[in-house]
Amino acid sequence: MWLRRLATDRLARLSSAPADQAFATVAPIKSALRLASVNDAAARLGLNPGMALADARAMYPGLGVADDDPAADLALLTAIADWCDRYTPLVALDPPDGLILDVTGCAHLFGGEALLACDLVGRLARQGFVARAAVADTVGGAFAVAHHGATLTAMILPPGETRDALLSLPLAALRLPAETVDALAEVGLKRIADVIERPRAPLAARFGAALLHRLDQALGRVDEPISPRLPLPACVAERRFADPIALEADVLGTIAHLAAELARVLERRGEGARLLQAALFRTDGKVRRIEVGTAEPLRDPVRVKRLFTEKLAALADAWDPGFGFDMVRLSALATAPFMPAQSGLIADDHADHVADMAHLIDVLGARFGLRRVTRLVAQDTHIPEYAVAALPASAVGRGTALPSPLPACGERSRAKRAGEGASPRARASRIEEEHVVRKGPLTRPPSAVDLSPQAGRGGARGSAVPPSHEQDTQIPTRPVRLLARPEPIEAIAEVPDGPPVRFRWRRVLHLVAASEGPERIAMQWWHDCDGNALTRDYFRVESRDGIRLWLYREGLFVRETGEPRWFVHGVFA
């Protein structure tokens, strides 16, 4: 389909000037303002694109002029492509002013190719666009006929007759570069009929392979795939209305009906939808697309309706029905195998819990965006702030039963008892026994050097412990909240590596009553190109008020920095 006067039609739709007034858009081409496009009235006066504006003005002082705006034209073309989605899901852009629709298998829904083309051109004409449509076996053939054919609006080439129709058309119809067309014209080859029977080798040698390639494309000897602008949905259900609907409840009711239709199709395929899109075609041509994602494959119409209810509620102002919607389409853009699960008779069955949770995540995701519903996923790093990542729950949590990562309670309480009963000295030696002392030619500190409490001064530095190892302490070794970023504090501490004695955080002075540490965490030197990442010594600290915080000193005294800075990084329960 070719929108002959896209640029001027766009402006004419915005202005109230009569249609028979000559009008053109101008753009600076070759250091002069030249006409970029003209409307029908101007074309009848003999104005052509490429003419200098001064010449055109000299001929017709009444010529209406506006700046050329290719970006706006492209946006309009995209909007029209959206609208053409009502005919076929396979719509491709052919910039600057064409659209390619693959109507294979769709035409019968509109009463045949001819009626489809007439409907398309007629609807566009009512919107103020001059369009020419051609239906042919190949993209090249349709392009040639639409741009250079004899008829004004729609032309249908029956299957197999593309070649005959092309014979009389000029070579420019083959989508060739202008210089190739000129070169061919110089040797007297002007029509497609002139080249179609010629020996191919000399043509290719002289005018390049593009000529033959385009010719083959037009004739269907070479397949020409079109790249659809939008993803092709796996399943689609749609409903058209003679009278547009505008109420939210009506739209949602329609979506529920369509979801029920879609569910039957999905059921036959043994699938459920992971990404659903409702396309609302407004009567004035605007298409509103609303997408909802799901955590689990879904086909229950009630739940689908629920998700769209939330999505529409979240849109609020952006929901603008205008004069109403004359078509609603529900498509499943992404699907996944749907495993039917036997639901239990007992209320708190595990499978039910997983399904309910998935639905809750979907509902919250539809309202706030699926990225905001997250699950915490442990990462393989020692750096506290990177040790956990909040990933979208719809992506990670497939809801299945996850084993607890914690070791059994028995093991830990055994370790604890051993620690409690021993004297400090005995305990320190036990810790040293447990630890494998690393004796390698390490010039840099290992990624995480985990010093257990009270063992710090004992020369156990360098012994590596897995970070998940539960230390022998009565409070959790990690805080329940980690501050968004470490907050600098003023702290007074013993040099070189003593715990803080008092510190001021958020304008409150805290006196330290007890502390445990240091737990030394070195930065990942293999990521640190500048070499200025400083080692952190973490302390668990309890103030005299009982407030427990996770502090760290940044930088080893003298070895890394002269004045170590202190930060609060987390808050214990």
Partner: protein, 265 residues
């Protein structure tokens, strides 16, 4: 309550009316002992709560001062763990502001505390009003073991909490509203707790002892208020009686709710 008073004998009609009202009132009143109440493991507290913390209800937790928010968070998490967060998912709703101000929940810390972090769904919402909406929605679903919602301001008024309480009753889950600031505003919550971090006892080597909370049950629909000091055993996932740390007078029971702790010496 209303029926117990004696009145002028001007008419039996008024008396009958009062009796009717009392009957209706009783129908709406909460059951004295809930069969599925959540036991805190301490008989003295469970007794006050009428068997334990009621499920299908909403409970409020607030720190006595902003600095004690960590303790309030810990107590809320402990309640969620007791409510079965190991087997079922828990939802934590937080505004962007709260996350920037006091920090988001930290997975390794939650694991260590007793709440499996892979069973937690964290929802970040842009506005405080969205917290209430999301909490109501989550409570209506019977899926989550507990719904924790953080409120940085006093957005939850009586109407809002009433909605939350109804949603919790509908879904049967445990709603935990973690307020960043203690308030005395009316609320439809079943209980309201004010939490401070108690200076815990030292362990045998002078290190930090168990996480200890100084709890005030300031509002309780099923019984009197009270004050307790409890420690959380993060290995066994139970509350244990706090060993009183040196230098602090033991807190008295049944004192006015907001009396501060007294430090001796």
């Amino acid at each position: 309550m209303t029926s117990t008073r004696t009145h002028i004998s001007s008419g039996t009609a008024l008396q009958t009316l009062r009796q009717t009202v009392a009957r209706i009132d009783a129908a709406h009143a909460v059951a004295p002992v809930a069969e599925n109440a959540l036991s805190l493991g301490r008989p003295e507290i469970d007794h006050l709560l009428g068997g334990g913390l009621a499920r299908g209800a909403m409970h409020e937790v607030a720190p006595t001062a902003a600095l004690h928010l960590g303790a309030a968070t810990g107590f809320t998490l402990a309640l969620a763990v007791l409510a079965g967060a190991q087997a079922k998912d828990t939802i934590w709703i937080q505004t962007d502001f709260a996350a920037a101000e006091v920090g988001p929940p930290y997975g390794p810390g939650l694991d260590a505390f007793g709440l499996a972090s892979e069973r937690l769904v964290v929802l970040r919402v842009p506005r405080a009003i969205d917290v209430l909406w999301a909490m109501e929605e989550a409570l209506k679903h019977r899926a989550p073991a507990a719904v924790i919602a953080e409120l940085t301001d006093d957005a939850a008024d009586l109407t809002a909490t009433r909605r939350l309480a109804l949603a919790a009753r509908h879904g049967g889950g445990l709603g935990l509203l973690l307020r960043h600031r203690a308030t005395s505003d009316p609320s439809a919550a079943m209980t309201r707790w004010e939490v401070a971090a108690a200076a815990g006892p030292r362990d045998a080597f002078g290190g930090l002892g168990r996480t200890t909370f100084a709890l005030s049950l300031v509002r309780n629909r099923r019984g009197p208020a009270g004050r307790f000091t409890l420690s959380w055993d993060h290995h066994a996932h139970v509350f244990v009686a706090a060993a009183v740390s040196r230098g602090v007078v033991e807190t008295a029971r049944d004192r006015p709710a907001r009396a501060p702790l007294v430090r001796a010496g």
